[in-house]
């Protein structure tokens, strides 16, 4: 500590910066919410007084039906009101929009009661208010939940964790993140629904061991195997079907109803919506009774019939079998036997069906765990995660080690896929593979990034195409082009290519084919969306101010802990950058967002080496002198 004294002047400067009232109080609790954006309904939850709870609307209901109706005159209904109007106004009332996220028209295997329009990248819905992207529709739902949370806390939300099905691919994840951005949410993390459920379940029951989470929602099915050890939620393997859920059971019942004597063979959109509504109600009724009597009026034709549990099980047997096939595969991927599974957690409203519960019980040879509300458990887990990510300490620290659900690769000669990141790889991850040119003097290489398990490119999902140009002319096979796939903790992909000899590089955030470009998001914000009334510039400035405060606070706490790692010069440099940012933030309220962002960037850049030193110290302490067995 001999050199310590000489630092004091700088230290003083730092103390001035954190004078009360000038930067946010580090002990002030920040608000992070967890949002379950479901096919059938959505929820928002948050940690209040140390407990995660779902936030109710003004009528005390926690569930928000994931239904948006576009009305005459530009108005919108979201939730229960929209749901009630479904039969009366089927073409402008959009339900199950989650099934359209990141999907093209060619992907649509089922008939929906509204009109779809093919658009480059993603399908859209034709409504009286114009063509609506699934991202915009989802943003309406997310914004409704955001307002609900803001009203509950009477404050702005610092950040949100949004859940997605574990089996969602790149395009579906990106679309979800875009929808959240459009709804004005700061996305802390996308987490997988089964992982969120395991957090809520594991923390609640202090469970340890290997668990299976069977998550059958309205439109998606996930099966994940997790290993739980104190505070660590490690996903061992995951699988599922991103287009299989309760909706499909409804449709199986609807098809059965149409097969009854006297049923009309073609239906108006209203009659189709009515048929699906009745099918769903009948299915739900069979969760608590053995049979149900139905009377339907479809385009003036009346049908009376009775549906019992055995018939429901019969007409949906193929669906249930499909989920169990996915369970078998994921066990194989995890290199586990069903006897290794300590407990099976049931998630998603569709697991209320006795036939599903029975099939899972029979498969695993044990009683599935249903003691948490299957509708709420995902949102609660997301809230616990959000609370931690937003920076609130206290309680046990969580660590989520999740995996990528589907393999990532690139197209090679002959339309074949070269796999670069295999499925079930723990994220974040970076993996590379070397390729070469196949023609003499070839100066460019086209890269086609795909996702899926099949060997042929045509059977996989196309994610992006880009080119590496400017390769110096060489003999065929002489260039060495390293392609690196980096998947971040949200499961989102970046691809970089570099010719090793010349150093020529190309780089892409995988977005264009299915996600939205930033300009498109900006346009949507300006066009129609409810948050657009806000002055865009004011919003940008507010965001820049929050970022600046966060950066100042983070740097200050880092210095409080570890300033001894820095030389006097390094410390002075960081202090100067902090002072400059502080000055821009405080002295000039009219500073534009760009100037403030630049000052924040400068501090971020200037503290990079310091961040690396701190990480080094942390890594060395992780294993040093500890009895590993007690970690």
């Amino acid at each position: 500590m001999s050199g310590w004294r000489r630092f004091i002047p700088h230290r003083m400067a730092l103390l001035q910066i954190s004078e009360p009232g000038q930067t946010p109080d580090p002990h002030q609790r920040r608000i992070g919410v967890g949002i379950d954006l479901g096919t059938t309904h959505s929820l928002v939850a948050a940690v209040r007084h140390g407990v995660a709870e779902c936030l109710p609307d003004e009528q005390g209901r926690v569930v928000l039906p994931s239904v948006v109706r576009y009305m005459e005159g530009g108005g919108r209904q979201i939730g229960f009101d929209a749901l009630a109007a479904q039969v009366q106004d089927p073409l402008n009332t959009i339900a199950s929009v989650k099934r359209l996220m990141g999907r093209g028209l060619a992907d649509m295997q089922v008939e929906l009661p509204y009109d779809l329009v093919d658009q480059p990248g993603m399908v859209a819905v034709r409504t009286r208010a114009g063509d609506k992207s699934p991202v915009e529709v989802s943003a309406e739902i997310l914004a409704t939940l955001r307002y609900r949370a803001e009203d509950s806390f009477n404050a702005d939300i610092d950040g949100a964790v949004i859940t997605v099905p574990a089996y969602f691919d790149e395009a579906q994840r990106q679309a979800t993140k875009d929808a959240a951005t459009l709804a004005g949410l700061n996305v802390l993390r996308l987490i997988n629904e089964p992982t969120a459920a395991a957090i809520a379940y594991g923390l609640d029951h202090q469970s340890e061991g290997v668990f299976a989470v069977y998550d059958l929602g309205g439109g998606t099915f996930d099966i994940s195997i997790l290993r739980l050890t104190r505070g660590v939620f490690e996903v061992v393997a995951t699988g599922g079907d991103s287009a299989l859920g309760g909706d499909d059971y409804d449709r199986a019942v609807a098809d059965w109803l149409l097969g009854q004597a006297g049923a009309p063979q073609s239906l108006s959109p209203s009659a189709r919506a009515e048929l699906l509504r009745q099918a769903r109600q009948a299915k739900e009724a069979l969760s608590s009774q053995d049979s149900v009597d139905l009377t339907l009026s479809l385009d003036g034709v009346e049908i009376k019939t009775r549906l019992d549990r055995a018939t429901l099980a019969h007409v949906s047997a193929a669906l249930t079998a499909k989920t169990l096939a996915a369970v078998r595969r994921v066990l194989r991927d995890a290199r586990l036997d069903k006897g290794d599974i300590q407990g099976v957690v049931m998630v998603g409203g569709s697991t209320r069906m006795p036939l599903v519960l029975g099939a899972v019980r029979e498969f695993f040879g044990q009683e599935p765990l249903t003691n948490l509300n299957p509708d709420e458990v995902v949102a609660l887990g997301a809230a616990l995660s959000a609370n931690q990510l937003v920076g609130n300490r206290g309680g046990e620290e969580l660590l989520l080690l999740d995996v990528i659900p589907l393999s990532l690769g690139i197209e090679t000669m002959g339309g074949l896929v070269e796999r670069i990141v295999p499925r079930n790889q723990t994220i974040p991850t970076a993996m590379a593979q070397d390729f070469t040119t196949y023609k003499d003097g070839q100066t460019a290489l086209a890269l086609h990034v795909v996702q899926g398990e099949r060997d042929l490119v045509a059977d996989c999902r196309s994610l992006a195409r880009f080119e590496l140009r400017g390769i110096p002319p060489m003999a065929a096979g002489a260039a060495r082009i390293r392609v690196t796939f980096t998947v971040d903790a949200d499961g989102l992909l970046t691809v970089a290519a570099r010719e090793q000899g010349s150093g020529v590089e190309a780089h892409i955030d995988v977005k264009p084919s299915y996600g939205l470009a930033d300009e498109e998001i900006a346009r949507m914000l300006q066009d129609s969306f409810s948050t657009a009334q806000q002055d865009m510039q004011a919003r940008a400035l507010a965001e820049a101010q929050v970022d600046a405060d966060r950066m100042l606070l983070a740097t200050q706490s880092a210095l409080d802990l570890d300033s001894d790692l820095l030389t006097p010069d390094e410390l002075q440099h960081i202090s100067a950058l902090m002072a400059a940012l502080h000055h821009t933030r405080q002295a000039d309220q009219s500073a534009d967002a760009a100037t403030l962002e630049a000052a924040t960037q400068a501090l971020a850049h200037g503290t990079e080496a310091f961040a690396a030193m701190r990480m080094n110290k942390g890594i060395q302490q992780a294993l040093a002198g500890k009895n590993i067995a007690t970690i």
Partner: protein, 172 residues
């Protein structure tokens, strides 16, 4: 500790083939508790970037350490006997015969049961190869001979993977 440290250094484990999988898992989690980007979500971009780098590096090391085949080939490489599977394709005759017999069984297998039996065969071949690797790498200190076993084991694992894919298709 540096990003360039070897996997064994990073995990503070002796550089040998024999390892306790449970211990590797514990060390992996302890390291990720320090380095995972989630820990730095409320901090600035610089901290996020560093965390991402380290977290990726720790996962990379973990993938290599926990998988016996990858661990063995990494050890061979560290000891100056890189695998270079594409350049070293010569295999003993009896090994090639066995491979052909397996391929035939795979062509003929049309039930999940037959495929499961085939998987069991590959699994015992795998166990035998792993025992050889432990002997060659840790006792005889012969990385060149070990590299040869690694190349054979790569064939076995690739074949097992094909059997599993067939199983997926049959049960789907």
């Amino acid at each position: 500790m540096k990003l360039q440290s070897t996997d064994f250094e990073l995990f503070e484990l002796p550089a040998r083939f024999a390892q306790d999988r449970a211990d590797i898992d514990l060390r992996w989690k302890a390291l990720q508790k320090q380095a995972h980007p989630d820990r730095f979500a409320a901090e600035g971009a610089a901290a996020q970037r560093v965390a991402m780098q380290w977290s990726v590096r720790i996962n990379e090391a973990y993938q290599r350490l926990k998988d016996p085949l990858k661990r063995a080939s990494y050890l061979c490489e560290l000891s100056g006997a890189p695998i270079r599977a594409h350049e070293n394709t010569a295999m003993p005759a009896d090994f090639l015969m066995q491979q052909m017999a397996w391929r035939e069984s795979l062509e003929e297998a049309d039930t999940a049961q037959a495929l499961e039996t085939l998987l069991e065969d590959t699994s015992s071949a795998r166990s035998a190869a792993l025992a050889d690797l432990a002997q060659l790498l840790d006792v005889q200190l012969d990385p060149v001979a070990a590299a040869q076993v690694v190349r054979r084991l790569m064939f076995v694992e690739r074949f097992a993977h094909e059997v599993e894919e067939r199983l997926d298709r049959i049960s789907a």
